[in-house]
Symmetry: C3
Subunit: 285 residues, 3 copies
């Protein structure tokens, strides 16, 4: 193929202990010319949902031949399955605990298998570090061109996370805080939002259709006239960019992942508003 194998890594390992480096060593033993790209290693320990979001916001910007390796794995050593799946925009390897739910909500699954073939695992598989012993070798072999069907039998009942809250009624969307980023921006489950060509018109086209309770009703509204309510506060309008408000001002805007965000220009919304993951945010249009 001539194409350079590409593997991304998303874990809750942190970067202090060498666990990530060890996984990279294992991958490069199998595909020495791979490009290895960190998505994040600062997922909160065992926080499958956070990993699902961070992966969801990033995967679409990678080449379709990319293998996305995710190891956030509270169930290591239990009966939870190890899986790999391929979609038209990339393949994914990790534990069967729902971490790929948001990807599966948006992308059709071409193949989904359980990782059972010992040929694509380290010779001795321990009980505590499947990232090194099972998932890294699988991702490497998959990136090297081994067909996904070689890794184990197909399955059709992957674990999925509950859908993030998103209730859409005429003129109104009620969601929740899905993620808080490094800058203190508050990212909500109200997405995907896209600007129409027409000035000031936004289209809401929710993504989480594939998961439990998912809705797929479109909402078309004038951004300037909308109101966002969160943390007992009302924020007027949905903006295109930080620069539309003064420094230090709270605003609602369409963030880089196409979701409604609450932010403070050159400041931290989370410090200002004190929101938490799961708190309700609503958009009235």
């Amino acid at each position: 193929m001539g194409q350079i194998p590409l593997v991304t890594l998303t874990t809750d390992f942190g970067t202090a202990d060498g666990y990530v480096g060890t996984m990279r060593g294992v991958i490069l033993n199998i595909v020495p010319n791979a490009q290895l790209i960190d998505i994040s290693h600062q997922i909160s320990p065992q926080d499958v949902r956070q990993a699902a979001y961070v992966l969801y916001a990033a995967y679409a910007f990678f080449s379709p031949h990319t293998v996305h390796l995710v190891v956030v794995d509270p169930g290591v050593g239990s009966v939870r399955r190890s899986i790999a799946l391929c979609t038209p925009v990339g393949c994914f390897v990790g534990p069967d605990n729902g971490v790929f739910s948001y990807v599966m909500a948006r992308e059709p699954i071409e193949e989904l298998v359980e990782l059972t073939n010992p040929r694509y695992q380290l010779p001795v598989v321990g009980h505590t570090f499947h990232g090194r012993d099972v998932f890294a070798p699988a991702a490497a072999h998959l990136a090297a061109g081994v067909p996904i069907t070689a890794f184990g039998p197909p399955i059709d009942d992957p674990i999925t996370l509950p859908s993030p809250r998103l209730e859409i009624t005429p003129g109104n969307a009620v969601g929740e805080v899905l993620h808080i980023d490094h800058f203190g921006n508050v990212i909500t489950s109200i997405g995907l939002l896209a600007w129409c060509e027409e000035k000031d018109i936004l289209l809401l086209d929710p993504v989480f259709k594939g998961i439990e309770n998912g809705k797929r009703e479109r909402l078309r509204f004038e951004a300037r006239g909308a109101t966002v309510a969160a943390a007992g506060r009302e924020i007027a309008g949905v903006h295109r960019t930080f620069a539309q408000v003064e420094c230090g001002q709270v605003l609602a805007l369409v963030g880089s992942s196409g979701h409604l965000e609450i932010a403070v220009r050159e400041g931290s919304a989370i410090q200002r508003l004190g929101l938490q993951l799961g708190d309700v945010v609503s958009l009235s249009v």
Copy 2:
């Protein structure tokens, strides 16, 4: 050319959210064989001056064909321009907000353009993440060999930061705290300092000549007899290395970037002395 494209990344994104990974994905879609090197992603949010210093301390150790991508961008979505510039020792891509000031103070600019050509941006450019949509594609195409003049029109009025304080009079240099590193070493604007072949003789040859108020007066002095004053304390002599003092002792020395540093051997100067960015440091020779 056969040479491997090389792109460095300096941002204030942190590494928890996948923003950096996303930019890497965008770059590798354009130049799959690029080497991607992180300079830092822990610039304080929106701190253009800190980014300018961190880049300044690092760029000279990279090959001249390197593209240095910097995204510390408080003005994203405003009218601030996006720029690229090339010097004999490397090219630079980022917002026009002064982040390249310290590089421009030291290196001649061969070309400087505004990034306006949509061909070298993502198909849909959002309003909040130009690192992904504008700067990463530009850096990738530049690293891939696209001539800088293809990106947009030349400009000659880049924004520059105020020069760091540096007043040199006979026998005296007054500067400020420019950076505090991971070890708690305090790096000052008094540089470049170089040791002469002669034992104990230092040459001060200030770098920030290209920026407002910049001076370029040389100072030649005996290191052992000099005095550094900071935080109400006098430190005797400028040393070559930590090992010249006892563990735990405060010392002044010439740091790895050629600037005067205040440090504690196997300890943290910032914890001991309580200095802050911008505090005055003087060198009497």
Copy 3:
């Protein structure tokens, strides 16, 4: 050879200042096609012992042609030597301060030299950043295929750390806390432990034989009947995996590096038990 040069990096530099990026630039100037893998840059400042452990837990998962570069260097600028060594499973470059002790305890040394040849250093070597000026160039040239004997004269008296505490008597092993990882797992000096094919039988085969006071007595015991004592608490049994206990429960298990660990399922042992590095942990079988 056709093989892709591979260099790992382990430092106490953190990732905020660009020091690591600078070293990478220096390496890629010499071997532009090298794979550069971070093991850790979050070693506590000047903590040679922690670096020794982190390297020890990772190096064996890399290809034998890998060069492991370690820069935790409290003695920079002093008379401490700079060294490189090769073993059948990889080469190592760094300061002669004991940081390779745990590797040397497990692997035979084929060559060990002092880095004195200025040809493999930067043209100007400073006194404070040998990672950039001495170690990075040496690692790069070694990875590029320069024979280790070209770097300087052989030596046979490398500095070694005191052996971690490990006293084995019939039915009993007394060790200490060697490392605390990102999850709060407590890793002890009691290793290597390996599961026999027979159910529930563990074999203790201590590794630190090459260092002062090292023992190499094997201990074979029934894991379920063993007791681990630490922090005034007794923990019943040695488990294979977290999933064998309830969420939030303290357990002892064989960790991914083959050492006895104390952990909390989906929690932090260090928060729960308050252990510190060096605290005594014993295993009664």
